[in-house]
Each structure stands twice: as structure tokens, then as C-alpha cells.
Assembly symmetry: C2
Homo-oligomer: 138 residues x 2
């Protein structure tokens, strides 16, 4: 391994550790704070947000598959996450009549309100955690 490769490796590792630290700190803070105050995990919020963003164009309705492309979860994890949101009344599942294998996930009114309540905290955590130097967690 040449010195140049070694230096490049060291840079890569440093960048990766930086990314890991920011991710851990932010994800942990989001999970804790959104969980405490709104009963939402980081990924639950993410799904609500994607649905909320589709509100104008698609009436807050997305197929599970479309959500899967946006959120970094396995298909099974996403399915169960939607189940939890559904149980809490934040979203509804609807059959997709064009393709009856598909399932629409629809943001409920309660879900929309919960999202709007939680959003300022979410942004505050991002601001605090992504801008400043990382606090530790977990």
C-alpha cells in the first residue's frame, strides 16, 4: 500500500467517522425527543413527512412502494411501521383498485396535525445537531 493510498484511506475513515457521529447524534436526539413529546420515532416522522409532502399533488396518499423508495427501511420494516401508524390512527391503508396488489397509505387528519405539531421540534433538533459539534448518545 503506497503512502498516497494510505493517506486516502485515512481521509475516508475520518470522513466516515464524522458521518457516523453526526448520524448517531442526530438520529438519537430525534428518536428521543420526538418519542417523548409526540410518540413518534425518527422513521415514523419521516413517513408522515413524505405523506404530508404529497398532500398537494396526491392528497397525502402514497403507495407503500413509493414510500419505500424514499425511506431507508426494508420492505418488511416499512410494512410494520405503517401498521403502527395505522394502529395509532395517523394513517389509513386503502386497497389500490388499479393494481390490487398495491396498498395506498393515506395521511389522516390526526396524522396531519401530529406532523405539524412535531415538525418544529424536528427542525430544532436538526438545527442543533447538524450545525453544532456532535453531542454523544447511545
Amino acid at each position: 500500500m503506497s503512502e498516497i493510498d494510505a493517506a486516502e484511506s485515512a481521509d475516508l475513515v475520518a470522513a466516515w467517522r464524522e458521518l457516523l457521529a453526526r448520524h448517531a447524534a442526530t438520529a438519537c436526539a430525534l428518536d428521543r425527543e420526538l418519542g417523548e413529546r409526540f410518540g413518534l420515532g425518527m422513521s415514523e416522522f419521516e413517513v408522515l413527512e413524505r405523506l404530508a409532502e404529497s398532500r398537494d399533488e396526491w392528497a397525502g396518499k402514497l403507495r407503500v412502494q413509493e414510500l419505500g423508495e424514499k425511506v431507508h427501511l426494508s420492505q418488511s420494516a416499512l410494512s410494520r411501521l405503517i401498521g403502527r401508524l395505522e394502529k395509532d390512527g395517523l394513517v389509513e391503508r386503502h386497497m389500490c383498485t388499479e393494481d390490487r396488489r398495491g396498498v395506498f397509505v393515506l395521511l389522516s387528519e390526526v396524522g396531519w396535525q401530529r406532523y405539524q405539531e412535531a415538525r418544529p421540534l424536528h427542525r430544532a433538533v436538526l438545527r442543533r445537531s447538524l450545525m453544532g459539534r456532535q453531542p454523544s448518545c447511545g
Copy 2:
């Protein structure tokens, strides 16, 4: 919410999604590839690497607490991870005689070799995943 705040929020969210995507892609690739070829998860490798880095100064021996400061895992997760590494013969646990609450984790010869074997793949994954645009995963 003023327009400036809205723009700042949008930037934050964009940065956070970018970070999430890079993290997911890289972590997933590391887990899969290190797992397939060396039976190591991402965090297992990280712990081996921290121990390996302490080899010159501390003979590859760190206290659990010191590891905990470097790796983004809860105390319990780290304890069990060390348990797995120990079961596989990659590290050894030793009582810390100065403070008998503490535990030293010592990189074994097998662990050192495994680390050296796995490192090139680890670096290759980082290079591929951190430099290029993110592939999707999970």
C-alpha cells in the same frame, strides 16, 4: 414562520436526507460485505479497528468504557458485541486490576489477523460508497 426560516429548514432537511442516504447505503454495504466475507458486522469491525489502533500505545488493549466513547453504541449493546467477539476468539476480556469494576478488552492474534484481512474490503466499500452517488439498500 418567515421565508428565511422556511428556506433554512429546507436546507437542513435536505442536508439531513443526504446524510441519511449516505449512512444507510454505506452501513448496509459494510454490514453485508464484511458479514459475507469475514463474519463481521460494521460495528464489530469498528471495535476491532479501535483496538488495532491502540496496539502501539496500549498493546491492543482498551477498557470497555474507552471503546464506548469511540463507538456509537449503548453500553449494553457494546457489552454484548464484545461478548460475540470473545466467543469468536477475536478478543479477550481481562479484569482491570487497578479498578476492579473495569474490564480490559484485548485484541487477540486471531482478531488482529481478521482485522487486517478485512480492512481492504472495508476501505473499498467506503471508497465506493462515500465517493460515488449512493446506491440504495434496505
